[in-house]
Symmetry: C2
Subunit: 378 residues, 2 copies
């Protein structure tokens, strides 16, 4: 099944943000926290729509306490920007001015003996400032206590992820018509970036072009190697459209593939398909990894599948949930993540196939829909 795409989704409303903040406060309480402290980054964007121009030494923090109106503390200079955020109507906004101590202002928002979840990436100077000012407060890193905070997407988020996926698909449909043989990986990567932008991405995060032996290194990005006849080429690209991520991989071949290239590609394709078919609510994340790994291991390439099977995606291109051994989190409808098994033959070539999928009550739904067949390019 496929998810319909809306080429220009309407903005999130303050009700959307209010609902996310209320759910987050409830989730905090459920794990024994008194509230959440969220500083600039993906969580703040998701909760309020507010993204300061830069993350600086000036304290900006959102405080969510169940039963209270969420409060955003901002530098006075940045108040107009905060007030313009789509979530602002459901926020209390408080400011502090240069030359005063923001942690003293924070005292009015934070209970003196309470425990808070705090953004992983909050700057040390702010953590230390809060601890210095309110010695009996306690803090836990947000992804340690609430790793699934943003994992379940609502309908408006799914629309955006589907739009990002459709743009990635369109990029692939175009790139395979361009020339590969004789061009550098970096040139093909530049084409991928241009196409993602032309198809509506406001941000390009990665454009991996791994040709021949470079494809066997899953950390390779794109270099000066000239692509040649007979090369397998791993294309892994994505970024943000309407604020939500795309991330897809196809492996193409320059000219007719050898039987081995074809066979390895078929195994990865089967692993990707089997993992996708295993998606349904209640299945543990690690089970998706196991299903993909079993196909590859049975084919004799278990040692050459060098990484986990997938990662979540949303306002960032890598986030929980992770499809990895040991992750017992059950899948829930609305979760979105990659399924991207691969086989890496050191010094020779690599194959990876990746789609973003979402969990529906009935099973998985793909947000990428280009063909998985081994595509021959020129």
């Amino acid at each position: 099944m496929s998810v319909s795409t809306d080429p220009s989704p309407s903005p999130f409303t303050h009700e959307d943000y209010g609902s996310r903040m209320a759910r987050s406060g409830d989730a905090a309480r459920a794990v024994g926290l008194d509230g959440l402290i969220v500083t600039p980054g993906p969580d703040l964007v998701w909760l309020t729509g507010y993204r300061p121009t830069a993350i600086t030494e000036r304290l900006t923090m959102l405080v969510i306490v169940p039963g209270h109106r969420p409060t955003l503390l901002v530098p006075a200079l940045e108040r107009p920007d905060a007030e313009a955020a789509d979530g602002a109507p459901v926020l209390e906004i408080v400011d502090w001015t240069d030359g005063t101590d923001p942690y003293q202002v924070a005292r009015d928002l934070v209970s003196p003996e309470a425990e808070y979840g705090i953004s992983d990436s909050t700057w040390a100077m702010h953590v230390l400032g809060l601890q210095r000012t309110m010695r009996a407060t306690a803090y836990r890193a947000l992804t340690e206590c609430l790793p699934m905070l943003r994992a379940v997407k609502d309908a408006a988020e799914l629309t955006r992820l589907a739009a990002a996926g459709a743009a990635a698909d369109a990029t692939y449909q175009e790139i395979v018509h361009l020339r590969f043989a004789g061009r550098r990986e970096s040139e093909v990567a530049a084409d991928l970036a241009r196409l993602l932008t032309e198809f509506g991405h406001e941000q390009v995060d990665f454009t991996v072009v791994g040709s021949g032996p470079n494809g066997a290194n899953p950390h390779h990005e794109a270099g000066e190697r000239v692509i040649g006849e007979g090369d397998m080429v791993v294309l892994d690209f994505g970024g943000l459209r309407y604020g939500y991520g795309s991330d897809t991989t196809r492996t193409v071949v320059v000219g007719e593939p050898t039987p081995e290239q074809h066979r390895v590609h078929d195994i990865v394709r089967e692993a990707q398909s089997a993992a996708f078919e295993a998606v349904r609510p209640g299945v543990a994340c690690q089970e998706i990894d196991r299903v993909a790994r079993a196909v590859i291991t049975e084919a004799g390439y278990g040692e050459q599948f060098l990484h986990r099977t997938g990662h979540g995606i949303g306002v960032t291109t890598h986030e929980p949930p992770y499809m990895v051994e040991g992750e017992e989190q059950p899948l829930r409808p609305g979760m979105c993540f990659s399924i991207e098994p691969g086989i890496y033959l050191a010094g020779r070539f690599g194959v990876r196939i990746e789609d973003i999928v979402t969990v529906t009550p009935e099973g998985g739904a793909r947000l990428n829909n280009t063909d998985h067949g081994l595509r021959v390019v020129e």
Copy 2:
């Protein structure tokens, strides 16, 4: 006087990095700290030459304790990158593997009851992890205890800052020959970015084009306003070349200036020049601000000079020391900072003139050298 530029400086040596780490350890001890903990960011680049591909949830930290070999703790996956850093030969490198607790590994590097300066931007999850694992350790944010850590540049750093300044000068010399009237600010900004790159910048940080009333807002970047005849246009641009920053501002006029435009420009020019002439070792940073402000205030525009006079520059384009009232730090030879007074006439136009200067034993030396006259463009 001017600083000579080397178009392609030789890389920093491990002796350069060793010397910076030793000096930093001594500085830590001088303010009563037992050592320094430095996580990825500008301080780590400056101390070791190491810049991880991304700043993530995986702990990377440098520990400097006077009298001991500096130690860099890295994720095992990133060890090859760390070993390739120019400062690696004078570092002990220790790694930790996924699935183990990096804070337990950190126990071997950190004394259980010592006090450390820690990078301002260290992630909260790492500060909390260290505190949880070693309860009697204490931490202070680095810029609070050692704000001038990177403020004094050595000769090899000055060469790079001069090269960045020369590229910014070359950019200005070109941009004034391009058309302004009838084009959008964003188009001129794109030209500035292109020119900075052509003249050797590997990173463009900002390209402000503030035309007419937009120039009166010092926070304006570049927008869709079409530049018109008679507009004053503030051009403020910079980025990194060879890892060191440029940041210069000139204000141009489209066609012949009015007497008022000319007069306001002359006042800012005089303020910039007076502040530059005040630069010498031992003078307090705030004195540079006072000198610039006095010229503008005497001319009747004190209320329209909306910001501090300058900021330091090095591996970042904004860092201590700040030329601002209240900053009593004395200037020392090798410090590098901007002098950038401005006058902002709300709803009408703005003027700002900015050069990077360095402190020499005899006085100031400019790292930007294009003319300060009011340039007429088309």
